[in-house]
């Protein structure tokens, strides 16, 4: 975990209506440590406003160039301030944070299910799975419209992409579950996106006896485990009772069977 003032290499709007921005940062120390599925805390201003940093999933890691990429959607004060920064300016970054996706060497066939801005954190996973030589990588991406499906071209290099949009402007019309076939045979299902989507992906995987990892999102205070603000409801391994785990520290990636999905 490193706190640094990173130079912004790129900060541009990549989607007009869906308000997605792409930011590339020079942060060699963080890039060196970063793994797929981890995140960073960023703030556009150094002082009181916005007071808290914002968690952003890492979208691409370039260890050689010492750079990292995030894709963020304009939502509130924090992301708005970020969107005003120009290339050449600096931004305070804490990272890499969290546990990241668990990738095993013996994985042969996997399925990635992503929706909305959650798609971003699946890209470095797809890249790593491909580098490891995983034979079959199915990638199901969903969103409101074609504008909401990010990084599609990069995903297409590494796997078999299937697209679902609510308005039918790209791929098939509907939600990601139209691609959930019977008797799937995967070593792992990885999912990141809106809670209802992850719940469906988890139910599909678990009901067929498949393993599933989900990457959760929650409002965060610190990002490094001290504020206890970003907890999610999980099942305690021993007692089966509810216990709250920190998304920033024990997560953001959890085994789907231990998570209670609440909207």
């Amino acid at each position: 975990m490193i706190l640094t003032n990173a130079k912004i290499l790129i900060n541009e709007r990549i989607r007009i209506k869906a308000d997605f921005f792409l930011m590339e940062l020079a942060a060699p120390e963080i890039a060196q440590e970063a793994r797929a599925g981890q995140f960073m805390m960023l703030t556009a201003l150094a002082n009181d406003s916005p007071f808290l940093k914002r968690p952003m999933g890492i979208n691409a890691i370039n260890k050689q160039a010492g750079s990292l990429r995030i894709i963020y959607q304009l939502k509130g004060k924090g992301t708005k301030a970020m969107s005003h920064l120009r290339a050449g300016e600096h931004i305070e970054v804490l990272g890499p944070l969290g546990n990241g996706w668990k990738i095993k060497d013996d994985m042969k066939s996997v399925c990635l299910v992503g929706g909305g801005s959650g798609i971003a954190t699946l890209l470095p996973l797809a890249v790593e799975l491909q580098q490891k030589g995983v034979a079959n990588i199915d990638i199901i991406l969903g969103g409101k419209s074609a504008e909401h499906i990010i990084c599609l071209e990069e995903f297409s290099h590494g796997g078999n992409t299937m697209i679902a949009t609510e308005d039918g402007s790209l791929g098939q019309q509907g939600m990601v579950d139209i691609y959930f076939r019977d008797n799937p045979n995967y070593d792992m299902v990885f999912s990141c996106g809106p809670t209802p989507m992850m719940r469906k992906a988890a139910q599909w995987a678990l009901s067929h006896g498949l393993k599933c990892q989900v990457s959760l999102e929650e409002r965060m205070g610190c990002g490094y485990g001290v504020c206890m603000g970003c907890v999610c409801e999980t099942k305690d391994n021993n007692s089966g009772h509810i216990c709250y785990k920190r998304v920033c520290k024990e997560g953001p990636v959890f085994a789907a069977e231990e998570v209670f999905f609440n909207d």
């Binding site: 409002r219 965060m220 001290v226 504020c227 603000g229």
Partner: protein, 302 residues
Amino acid sequence: MTRMITNIGGISMKNPLITASGTCGYGREMAELFDLSILGGISVKGTTLEPRLGNKPPRIAETPSGMLNSVGLQNPGIEMVIKKELPFLSQFDTAVILNIAGHSIEEYGLIAERLDEVPNLAAVEINISCPNVKAGGMAFGVDPQVAAQVVSLVKSKTKLPVIAKLTPNVTDITEIAKACEAAGADILALINTVLSMVIDIETRKPLLANGFGGLSGPAIKPLAVRMVWQTAQAVSIPVIGMGGITTAEDAIEFLLAGASAFQIGSANFHNPYAAPQILAGLEQWCEKHGVKDIQELVGAAQ
């Protein structure tokens, strides 16, 4: 560095900076970033008799120059804290302060009587000011008589110095402060968070699952400075000031208002290196202003 030495109410510290309860866990995460021995003290997460699940998420909301939290004292309970958490902190040369909270007055006593057996504890901080739990917490801190009962019970159960941490959610904080002093408190710490609320205008519901939360951060600093000023003049025991400190200059303002030491709270969230940076800033400021002993500043504002 000797000019930073702070000895108050039976606690010896190398400097007046303490990380505030609920903003540094039990020290493990922060210890990955810097040596905790640089801290004057560390006030660890509010601990209860039994384990506490805490409140439902969302527990955090950003507000202008600050934040709301409604964590609700999630902690593994005193037994686990003594067994698993406090031993970790014994490797550091810093004053370890255990913050405790109870559902009932008796519970504060039941926790306190366990503490004399714990090696390396510098003090106990009684949380009678948490706004995020239904029973206990703030309920005990808004009534001078009840606050005094908790303080004198804890005092009778442990030899450790007793800090009473006060809530700002009262009409006159000096009334509670005087009651705690009379009941035997060695030190007062103030302020805890300010009871607040944020409504999501799209869902038309409170943003926090708990409804209300505690406001902290720079937004509450002037309120905290005023209360520290009033309290320091009303009592003769030392006061630890806190509320929105993010820089060395903020800390000096609290000292001038009458605080003998200060705590860093939500600044730890937006900047994990807030404590070392504030300490360095404090040294520089004293050097520049010819301050030979940090205690010269305490209550020096006229």
